[in-house]
């Protein structure tokens, strides 16, 4: 996914239709923090910058950014913009680990059940993966 290299290639994921746009905006900012594309205490793109980059309504971009403000990933410096909080990277990792069970493990088990794959078979697959 990440072609890397350039200084300015932050936010290079593209939007899909699978998920609400504002959720994708907040996830993309999180991904960039996890990959050190945006560092802690650095400014993230403004709502209007995001709106223009992705050709989306600024209200939608703001909704995505606000999720990250509410959970403490970003903080606002009045008149300057939004910045990545100290410790944000670790906090995102921790949260995603917690969500890993719901987002991945549960659907994996549901699909396996539907296909009649036994627990033992599934465990073998995971070990060999």
């Amino acid at each position: 996914m990440n072609t890397g290299g350039k200084e300015d290639d932050e936010m290079n994921e593209i939007l899909t239709q699978e998920k609400s746009i504002y959720l994708q905006i907040s996830e993309m900012i999180e991904n960039d923090i996890l990959r050190d594309i945006i560092l802690e205490e650095e400014r993230v793109p403004s709502t209007n910058e995001l709106a223009k980059l992705y050709t989306i309504n600024p209200a939608t971009a703001a909704k995505g950014v606000n999720i990250l403000v509410e959970n403490g990933t970003l903080y606002k410096k009045r008149g300057i913009g939004m910045f990545v909080s100290g410790g944000a990277k670790e906090a995102i990792k921790k949260r995603r680990k917690e969500e890993f069970y719901d987002n991945y493990v549960r659907t994996l088990i549901e699909e396996a059940k539907g296909l009649g794959i036994s627990k033992e078979e599934l465990l073998t697959m995971i070990k060999e993966a």
């Binding site: 939007l15 746009i21 209007n48 709106a51 050709t55 309504n57 600024p58 209200a59 939608t60």
Partner: protein
């Protein structure tokens, strides 16, 4: 100015005995980009022309900032409906040059921004020495867009602005629009048949069908409140029994349905059922709502 609103109340428009707009109630708030979607002949262009005071209503009221719009210059100055250009006019071919057309627009629009219009001419690479009758469909769209944006009107209506544009020019238009919106917070109403690529630009969406407004809703909220479910017919029938159903389709034992979630319901509870629940995009929702065979 932030309180200004454009309000249509019980607006009816009839041509002779044929009523094309049935008691429309619509409120446009300042500082939003509205997407206006409907099938051909649904009444989009008629509503835009009546709401902008270019065409009289048969009955009902249209006000902006509380002022009636019809034959009221102060109110009309707040609204711009830049209509599609035609290569023909009353006298045959429309031989007006683009630059003269823009000059004329500048004289009858009180807030017309000439410098911004020039900037847009350059951005689109338009040759203003050309006569309107000699323009391609895409170039005509550009002229309409330039007049609309440079009008600087509080309420700006664009009727199919991207219809003649290629994908690159469409993307450019939406980016220019977002720039102008970010700078001014003007209200835009944009009709389009190319729904999906514009869906994320629209904060609100207005759906019109056969002269009735079906809904006016925040685009995200609408998309999150409609899902498609499919599975065995009996299971689907039991799941959708007490719900708003927009559309169903059947093949063999399988059935699909487009349904609305209830207020406050975040996702469909399908415990005990073996069905697939899928999100829908704006275009799919629109087809489910308005796509029935006539």
């Amino acid at each position: 100015m932030n309180e200004s609103k454009l309000v249509c109340t019980n607006l009816v428009k009839a041509y002779g005995s044929k009523e094309v707009l049935h008691s429309i109630n619509l409120e446009l708030e300042r500082g939003k980009i509205y997407g206006f979607i409907g099938r051909n002949g649904a009444g989009k262009t008629t509503l835009l022309s009546v709401a902008s005071g270019q065409n009289p209503a048969t009955s009902g009221n249209i006000t902006v900032d509380g002022m009636p719009v019809w034959e009221n210059q102060d109110a009309r100055d707040l609204i711009c409906f830049s209509r599609e250009l035609s290569p023909m006019n009353g006298n045959g071919a429309n031989t007006t040059k683009v630059k003269d057309y823009l000059k004329a627009a500048a004289t009858y629009m009180p807030n017309f921004d000439k410098a911004y219009a020039d900037e847009l001419v350059n951005a689109f690479g338009l040759d203003t020495k050309k006569r309107i009758s000699k323009l391609s469909k895409g170039m005509m769209s550009m002229v309409t867009i330039i007049v609309a944006l440079a009008s600087k009107a509080e309420f700006t209506f664009l009727d199919e602005p991207v219809a003649g544009l290629d994908i690159v020019a469409r993307e450019k238009f939406y980016k220019i629009l977002l720039d102008e919106f970010a700078a001014t917070g003007r209200t835009f109403v944009i009709s389009t048949h190319i729904i999906e690529e514009a869906a994320d630009v629209f904060e609100e969406v207005i759906i019109i069908d056969q002269g009735n407004i079906l809904l006016t809703k925040n685009t995200n909220d609408l998309i999150e409140s409609v899902v498609h479910i499919s599975g065995k017919e009996e299971e689907i029938d039991s799941l959708i029994a007490d719900r708003t159903v927009y559309n169903t389709e059947k093949i063999g034992r399988s059935k699909g349905a487009t349904i609305a979630l209830k207020d406050g319901e975040e996702e469909l509870d399908t415990k005990g059922y073996d069905v697939s629940v899928q999100p829908m995009n704006l275009q799919q929702i629109f087809v489910a709502m308005c796509g029935r065979e006539a």
